[in-house]
Point group: C2
Chain length 210, copies 2
DNA sequence: TGTACATCAGTGAACGCGCGTTCACTGATGTAC
DNA sequence: TGTACATCAGTGAACGCGCGTTCACTGATGTAC
């Protein structure tokens, strides 16, 4: 039987939340179910989190750290283009590996309310790794556009991840090419597209639309 | 005072749901609140929808039709490149104009359960308009890649829309350039990127990642 | 080393809430003859 | 044209549910002297 004092309940709650997420989905993730899973009364979490949102955002922070770890090792390749492709690939692969966690990480509710401070730190860390990869493939003259390009590429991968998770993108290649190959192909053209996007920052120029 | 028989309750419920969506958000959109808003008892909706999901998906179908209408008129431009940019711009503008509706339209819950058949029809219609715009800018030899390119561009705009809605993309241009200009700039480079993506379909080639 | 006591981390009963859904009902409408 | 009756589209009371949160509590821990 477990001791009266858990010892490391905070960490345990976050870990159990991460597990429950993938089985029960984001909506099934209640304070009570997490507490039960941790073998603790349903009010125990309140010793460690002010409210439900705090627990969820702490969990999401863990997800962002895991994502950032993957992006970091993907970005270690010597060749900048190859590193860029690998980072994009790693991003979508993470989302496909932990679909519910990914959805939680970008759940709008987390931003309002008492979000865990780790949440902001971890998500920034992930984005910075993406930006770094973009910087490496840009010529010195275009460095100012790295943030711009990284933002758009982030959006592209975010959308791709979500659409694949929800199975809204049909396999459009012959032989029902699996998702992973689709993502790999997209990653192939990534460096070129990133360079094309780098010109977007800077002073406003003429635009085709009024 | 309203008559006992409403006359067009089904349509009214969907319309009220669309309104409540933007004020109360997706989570606040209950069968009961929609019924109350329509001035009808909370069980009345069951005469027209088997369950909550059916009402939500009928509402989302309306959203997809509105989106498709916007994409259709944006795509009317004579110059294919200009039409392509306009379609991309219209897409994100719709999401920013009706953020909660946009989130509902892509809510994962809608796909499982008794979704309204209109939902599938309307969302397909919107996607086909995007694909048409891509087809127009591709040379005859690359037409096979239109679906592929459209899927990736759809993902890009989907991600951009969501990240902008949740204010996760910081203005990275000087002078706090408003969102709309950001989107316009992205739309400028859209045709070129679409052409680059068209090569993704077809037989598998060598890839940089194992 | 032993004791008193503050602090900490749990318990479990209880609260109120809004929800989706069901049910027997009733008022209105339309149709057959 | 009038009447009987089936059908349709509402009502409102009631159900059970799981939830987040609060509260007075209790058991365990650690510290001052």
């Amino acid at each position: 039987m477990p001791p009266y004092h858990h010892g490391d309940l905070r960490r345990a709650l976050v870990a159990r939340a991460g597990e429950l997420l993938e089985t029960d989905g984001m909506d099934g993730l209640s304070l009570r179910s997490v507490a039960a899973r941790a073998g603790v009364s349903h009010s125990a979490p309140y010793r460690h989190f002010p409210d439900r949102t705090a627990l969820l955002s702490a969990t999401a922070a863990l997800g962002f750290d895991e994502l950032a770890d993957r992006l970091a090792s993907a970005g270690e390749a010597d060749d900048p283009d190859q590193a860029m492709s690998a980072v994009g690939l790693a991003y979508v692969r993470f989302a496909l590996a932990r679909p519910q966690m990914y959805r939680l990480m970008f759940s709008g509710d987390l931003l309002k309310g008492a979000a865990d401070p780790e949440y902001a730190r971890a998500s920034t860390r992930a984005f910075e790794l993406l930006r770094k990869a973009v910087e490496r493939i840009l010529p010195p003259t275009d460095q100012a556009g790295a943030g711009a390009a990284a933002s758009i590429l982030w959006a592209e991968h975010h959308g791709l991840a979500l659409l694949l998770i929800e199975k809204r993108i049909r396999p459009w290649m012959r032989d029902e090419t699996p998702e992973d190959e689709l993502v790999r192909r997209v990653a192939t053209t990534l460096p070129d597209r990133a360079r094309a996007l780098a010109s977007l920052a800077g002073p406003a120029g003429a635009s085709k639309d009024g």
